[in-house]
């Protein structure tokens, strides 16, 4: 009876066993990479807004404080999106006739809200509180990046849990003095490795990693 399989079949079998292992590993790896990619996290992605509002201009050029518009960032979980009235405080005087700002004037005139697209969007089962992070010395820049250089708002961090937990486990690496929270381009005056632990102690930071801190 002739041989059904040639000698090369042995090699083929060995290669395909190894190949299956690689394929499985590769698939898992691909999923992990894909899950962290900006395709999923939407990091570094410019989002078209109803009005191309430039943080670079208002923060970088004009030097307006974050809290002029995001009024509740120190008191509430939500930092606050400014009502049209806030825009009109200035733009009833400056660029009052600019066609570019017509949607703002229309909103004010017709008493209809502007519909912005949310850039930093946590999943609905995550509860984040701005006020406590400000209180404990987390700078805006730490999570939101150099907003003063963003002509259009983009999300810089992945906003995935491993990113949150990295800071909750080691807040001393990210904390800054309360006076510098709204500073863009902050550089610590002494090495973070010595300043961080001091601030953690001074601000009584007890970054919680219990699940119910954020999930409830």
């Amino acid at each position: 009876m002739p041989q059904i399989f040639k000698a090369s079949a042995n090699t083929l079998a060995k290669v395909s066993i190894v190949g299956i292992l690689f394929l499985a590993g590769g698939t898992i790896g691909l999923i992990m990479v894909l899950g962290r990619s900006s395709y999923v996290t939407r990091a570094n992605e410019y989002i078209e807004q109803p009005l191309q509002f430039s943080h670079a201009h208002h923060v970088g050029d004009d030097g307006i404080d974050c809290r002029y518009c995001h009024t509740s960032v120190e008191t509430s979980s939500f930092a606050g999106i400014p009502p049209t009235k806030t825009c009109m405080n200035c733009h009833s005087q400056i660029w009052a006739n600019s066609p570019f700002l017509e949607p703002v004037r229309a909103s004010f005139r017709e008493d209809k809200s502007l519909h912005w697209i949310r850039v930093h969007d946590l999943p609905d089962f995550v509860y984040f509180n701005h006020s406590i992070h400000i209180k404990k010395g987390m700078g805006c820049e730490t999570c939101h990046g150099r907003v003063d250089r963003m002509p259009l708002m983009e999300q810089q961090a992945s906003l995935q849990m491993e990113w949150c937990v990295a800071c909750h486990r080691a807040p001393e690496q990210y904390v800054r003095p309360r006076s510098e929270i709204f500073t863009m381009g902050y550089r610590p005056t002494e090495p973070q490795s010595t300043l961080g632990p001091k601030l953690v102690k001074a601000y009584q930071i007890s970054a919680n990693t219990s699940c119910s801190t954020c999930h409830r």
């Binding site: 999923i31 509430s76 999106i81 219990s210 409830r216």
Partner: protein, 1067 residues
Amino acid sequence: MNERTDIGALRARLEGTRGREYWRSLEQLAETAEFKEFLHREFPQNASEWLDPVGRRGFLKLMGASLALAGVSACTRQPTEELVPYVRQPEELVPGKPLFYATAMPFAGAGVGLLVESHEGRPTKIEGNPDHPSSRGATDLFAQAAILGLYDPDRTQTITNLGEIRPFSSFAAEARAILSSQQTSQGAGVRILSETIASPTLAAQIRELLTRFPQAKWVQWEPFGRHSAREGSRLAFGEYVDAQYAIEKADLIVSLDADFLCTGASGLKHSRAFASRRRMGGDGAPLNRLYAIESSPTNTGSRADHRLPLRASQIEGVARALAAQLGVAGFAGGALPEAATRWMAPLVRDLQASRGRSIVIAGDGQPAIVHAIAHAMNETLGNVGATVVYTQPAEAQPMNQLAGLRDLVAEMNAGTIEFLLILGGNPVYTAPSDLEFADAMQKARLRAHLGIYEDETAALCHWHIPETHFLETWSDVRSDDGTVTIVQPLIAPLYNGRSAHEVMSALSENGERSAYDIVREYWAAQSGFSLQPVIPPPAPTSGGEVAPTGGAQIAPAPGGGVAPTGAAQIAPPGKGAVAVVPGRAPIVAAPVPALSPFDREWRRWLHDGIVPTTAFMPRTVAVQANFAAQVPASPAAAGAALEVVFRPDPSVYDGRFANNAWLQELPKSLTKLTWDNAALISPATAARLNLISGDVVELRQGGRSLRIPVWLVPGHAPDTLTLHLGYGRTRAGRAANGIGVDVNPLRTTGAPDILTGVELVKTGDVYDLASTQDHWSLEGRNLVRVATAAQFAQDPQFARKQEHQPLTGLTMYGNYKYEGYAWGMAIDQNVCTGCNSCVVACVAENNIPVVGKSQVLNGREMHWLRVDRYYTGDLENPDTYHQPMPCQQCENAPCEVVCPVSATVHSSEGLNDMVYNRCVGTRYCSNNCPYKVRRFNFLLYSDWNTESYWLQRNPDVTVRSRGVMEKCTYCVQRINQARVAAKLDDRSIRDGDVVTACQAACPTEAIVFGNINDPGSRVSKLKASPLNYGLLEELNTRPRTTYLAIVRNPNTELEPAADTGEGEERN
């Protein structure tokens, strides 16, 4: 109950047991297969099985698919979300922080003071107003569920005339035309039919119309409108007065068929006062003693030290005999049932010994004469002025409602009614059947109905006008003690509704005006303050006082906190209005509209939720000497002829809350029935008639009949059936249509409360009733621990001694030291009345879904907090205990160690966290939970499609999807809020900062939550009590929720066993 239970055998078994045994149901006593199923599995068989056969191929396919999906699900992009800011943001509003507004819920002729939580303009949760005398911060289940009623998608949304959509102006024009045609007859053909009205403004508006049309009449009809109480007071005193009971001052309370703790406008107040005399230790107030004589088991009866089940018609005889023995003039004792005879002498001695410190309360279901006798007994015992005071009634116009409705029907039948205006209520459904109200009503020439639903009455009216919910309109209401609350709206009318004020104003000479103007004008006239603003002096006034912002007309908020601390918050002093910077021109604040003197008062009323000095002054009334002679003793039922008592349903009341799914799914306190009503019957009578729970019977009396399933209730009076109104609705909405049985066909004006001579015929049909009494049964001993006051004095540690096994304290995992906060809960079973408001509060706070009757039958109800009811003793008159069961938050939690994906893990503060986004639905945790407090979303129970419900949801709690396990979190969202608030203020969380939803709602403050690491906290003090014990502690789970054992205060004459060691365990 599939098997036939042998009641005789059960009784024999109970007699054979030594000591106390606690049981939840007859099925448990009989150890039916069905009960064992509930006991041994966390979900019954069909609930958790996948019944379709799965072969090897199918299995592989599913495995492959689920592996692939598990990976892919991590890679989904979130849908785009919009941010929609205000155009002009209201000044008092901070996005992300709720505001609380004081208002009141008008309910059956009185108001309950509330604080309503609002998130960016949408009301989400109702709490009691701590400053309000009727609620003192607590709420009943109806107030808790009212928030769902607001968003009910089945509310009517359009004004219709004969089914066609019309503007309100057409209704106003037609109504005015018919009124002007009635000028000559002075309105002889005009009738206004309303529910009992406790709004002074609305009453004034109606009276104004009656002044213009002296021949017009105003009729009020409330199916449980306290007609006996009203007529009883007229019998005794010759006028309508309300009795106000100072329960906290009474050492002895006798209830004659009265559920004074859990029904009526004063229930919340009474519960709080009763609880203050039932706590062991603490404020040192001595225990009171409650005797309850009742026909149908009530929550009040379940708290009684002595309870006597008697047929409703026999209670009058007992009252007369009691009055005779106490020396009330005009009464002579008669023959009494045997059980009552034994009671009489000790009860009389006890009452005589507590003169001036006792109360006799008659129930609304008892005839007027019993109320009059109760008043006379209170007078004879010297209680009037001490524990009982009389005031004018809270309702604006007390009247004999039954007689009024009867006259109205006669007039309609005579064809003399030209215009019938129905302001709220559903008389076609609720009117006694002998009136044939629906037929009579159709003889009125023009009929208009104002109502929240397009109900049975609306269907027979020409005009139907959607009514505003009380959270949508300005109004006012008196609470039972007379205190007025201005009802302020939380949201603009969702469905284009009109309030009764606006409908009445459209008929007035002044024409259509807003409810806001009407209420303000009335109170300006009442208070004597001018509505005209005083021109302020040039100094700038407060910047915080802003005019109400558009749309919803929201008045100043009482601040962000749960409890407003005082009126000062509302008008901050004028600081910051002028900022003077050297070298620059001062920035002057925008001109603030001047406030009138009335507005200053008005704003404080709105903030506080009460109008000061509106509580009634006590009135001096004397019992008329000859009242006893006016009413001959009515014959008590004899022999085995059945009688029926009518009661409002514990969950849906008279049907007005029928379409509220939270209330429909709420297990009724004593029967644990959901989604249905049944004829309640005692086990002995059922055995005599050969009935078991679920058997459908036909009840006949005087040519009327109805078919209804029966339900066996231990402790029910013999030969009596309790029928609950509120079911069998045909036009209530999607939740209520066609469920349960309408019992109105048996109810007549002659016998609205007690119907005698009822014939019962067994039909042979069987009906599936969804009761949860055996769901989540615990397998363990000594879950309830009870002693008498004497035993407690002898052995304060009795509860600890009932441990099944000595506690070892062993652990495999090492002892974790909880630094900082350690959250814990203590539940005082001494004061829990089983009223169920905590359960509804939990549903409202935690976005708990409704599952429907078929799912409840499968044991899949989702309530995170259940109230277990245990019986002990005789089948015909057992003691009843209520045990609220939230998650016990075990320190050694059995659920955590079996979760393969770490979806349930421990927090550093001792909470047993549940992480929904990790849960894959293995249900191992539920399987391993000895307390059975975990709930699984077998299907997509949360309603994600009905838009109006989106507004109701608590934004601080995740809405769960299918395939996810959930359970009580100790309201971790409230803990986190308190923690952030404390950290922002650089302090630690104070005792009382975190109030769980169940705790906030509890009328008796039975639930106490706090930090057990703080020895000064209230919860620590309770846990230090000798009565404190944990459930199933022998399993070494170390539960954070513990219970206080019950101490009863029986009269040793009636319960001689009280001194012996009856409380000993039975192992």
